[in-house]
Symmetry: C3
Subunit: 312 residues, 3 copies
């Protein structure tokens, strides 16, 4: 029993992929695959209200959850706490409890603070369900799930015989952390990470990974290249030189991609900095699964919301 | 016949609780209680469009009306006139008439100007329905109704034998005005008000109330303590000293609350300034009905929208 | 076959009224008239998602499309790219493709750039449908259609025997361009345009029109006066003197309107600058069809969305 699973091991919130039992993770992926294949569930959440509660703006993730909610027949409410003048110094917990009191059962929460969504979940009333839509650099579990669904579609479920490479600013990336947790749970054969020394986290995060600083070396023979977005603020913070330097060292070009295994796939969580961490040729090329990831995002979020909120 | 009732005494808009006939008010509370108890009316407003037309921002009130509309099966449209760059100098009346022309019948209107919603109602086409979601310091009738519903649940309808205390900045408060109107209509036994001299309105507003400036004295034996939010701008205007001073004089603490009657209830319209007008201990304590108020808010707004908009 | 019609001449996008075949235009108007008369089509787009993708803000147009989508039973998603911080340098094409990947089939797009919506349509996946909700000064086809529907209701379809006058800043007006295209397609008898020399476009746009700079002369005997909104930025650009000057020369007053044919109708796309290009007396007078235009806007947008998106 954890904050996100009950005594019977059933999911009650989705806060992180860390420690999520393999059967739970696989069940979510199976259900998501059904939705990706077009399964209809429009009545599943009829009459149920889902609130997107965003303390940090993100139009794309919000839209994806909104579309998932619509396909399940839920009523959607949006609370953009990042721009709302009406929170007026109210705590995040008070905001949650208020919307909860309005009869809203499901919350999709994004927050700039590490573990902030788990803190809110701990304060929520019984029966209320929280989905972490990204908190600080801590976790982005639905992104991790959609990446896994995308990889599973590519590899047919055989993760043990495959090698995976995550590239870029892993230090500040909740996507990388959630991907790493899921890859380990699914028994990934080899996990490589690559990035400039100052943008890689410590052993606690990278346990079991092969660490590279040379992108060309890291790419050799890998089956999946999972690029991360370079946040512009890394330059202001002096952690990265110019965009040109970053592109030269860590930009994925078609030439570079040829070092990977034949038919290797390329993922990116978006939005892409074209010409920085990825070139147009790769982003729009036959090995790119970027749009497949977006499509899978809706399917994964449907699976998560249905699993958590549908009356059993 | 008034602007908000027709020749048969039926409600056609909800603009203020002032002068609202007791039977109309009671019918709204009865219907709201049914919704609070879970009555389903998802088909009641199917195909009917409700627009939240806010000339002053308020995410919480907007969400509450939105949830109420969803539970009635209405289509919801949002017009945030406070931030819209597209009103481009258009008058509020033109904005209303335009959305009305789009086939929208119900309008939930918030406006910074006193009586602004009544003015809009006077300009609306026949069949268009307006609900005042707060205008200036004039009225906030659905807040008044939800407060009454909450008090009625606590006291079982016996208002005559009870004493009610409203505390804080009544001068600038539309909530206080709507509460006072409703309490009088429902035959409240005693009504006390308490606040610093410079934040209390005149006799026109406070007719029949016992006026206190000493919070401890005012609390003696009351059955309900209705706290108001302190707006920070009162300090900038020099009407209030420091937050510390205000808390010392008018903050509701657990110690102070013991002066009230045994089992006295505490209300607050939210959002709360914790540590200023109310302490955590009281806000989250067993006598606090704050979250019950929020839940009742949806039920009351359902009753109002259904009463005004459902085809008879 | 064009970007907006397929090999069978069927509409696949609505990008401009220029070159739109007369039968297609008439079919849209006929279907819109049915919706204006109250035809129900709530199931037509059930399960279909429509995204309003606005790279330039416009609350009114967005609301009109939103209402149209609701009346067709579609799921609506809103992406306000103008204020979204999350596009983060992403190209409009990437934004479109991403939302498309979420399973959204219909896009209502507004963009500040001329022909920007056609460019997006060229990049869209097969099966994706775009409706131009205004791009630069190029086209605003649903405004053109609603103006035609309004005029047809007034004149009973007889455009050949009628004279039409468009007044104001035609140079910067996508409304004027779309109106001109539609009027020609529908065989308007005479088309006059009137405005200050520096606000009229060239012969390419005005082919076949009678050009006036004197408003009084232009008005003589016309059956329809189609006013344009004066954008305040024209003054900052030095293209127009004071508002008073503009009103004196090109403001439609009741006195001036008497120069037009008896029973002439007045249109304005809104929002109106009352007291500048139009007086209250005219805007709210018996010859004004301004609110009828707004009502027709929903009907026209329903017809367009249904035509493009309903499964055949």
């Amino acid at each position: 029993m954890t904050l996100q699973t009950d005594a019977d091991g059933r999911l009650v919130h989705l806060l992180t992929l860390e420690g999520l039992p393999r059967p739970v993770l696989l069940a979510l992926l199976d259900r998501a695959q059904a939705f990706a294949d077009g399964a209809d569930a429009r009545g599943a959440l009829a009459g149920t209200a889902v609130c997107t509660l965003f303390f940090e703006p993100s139009t794309r993730t919000r839209l994806s959850f909104q579309r998932a909610s619509q396909r399940l027949g839920a009523d959607v409410l949006g609370f953009d706490a990042a721009t709302s003048s009406t929170t007026k110094g109210e705590t995040a917990t008070d905001t949650l409890r208020n919307i909860e009191a309005m009869g809203v059962r499901g919350f999709v929460v994004r927050h700039p603070g590490d573990r902030a969504v788990a803190e809110l979940a701990a304060a929520a009333a019984p029966g209320t369900v929280l989905v972490n839509a990204g908190d600080g650099r801590h976790a982005h579990p639905t992104q991790g799930l959609l990446d896994m669904l995308t990889l599973r579609q590519a590899f047919g479920g055989d993760f043990g015989g495959r090698s995976f490479l995550i590239v870029g600013d892993l230090l500040h990336s909740r996507v990388a952390r959630s991907d790493l947790h899921a890859l380990r749970t699914l028994g990934a054969g080899r996990i490589r990470v690559c990035g400039p020394r100052q943008l890689l986290p410590g052993e606690d995060v990278l346990a079991g990974c092969e660490v590279f600083h040379d992108f060309d070396a890291a790419l050799e023979g890998v089956d999946a290249v999972m690029m991360l977005r370079l946040q512009r603020e890394r330059m202001e913070e002096g952690l990265v030189g110019s965009l040109e330097d970053y592109h030269r060292d860590y930009g994925l070009t078609a030439a570079r991609l040829r070092r990977a295994a034949r038919g290797a796939v390329v993922l990116h969580p978006g939005p892409m900095n074209r010409g920085v961490e990825i070139t147009d040729e790769v982003a729009d090329g036959p090995q790119s699964l970027v749009l497949r990831q977006v499509a899978n995002g809706v399917a994964v979020r449907m699976a998560v919301l249905e699993t958590l909120l549908a009356r059993r």
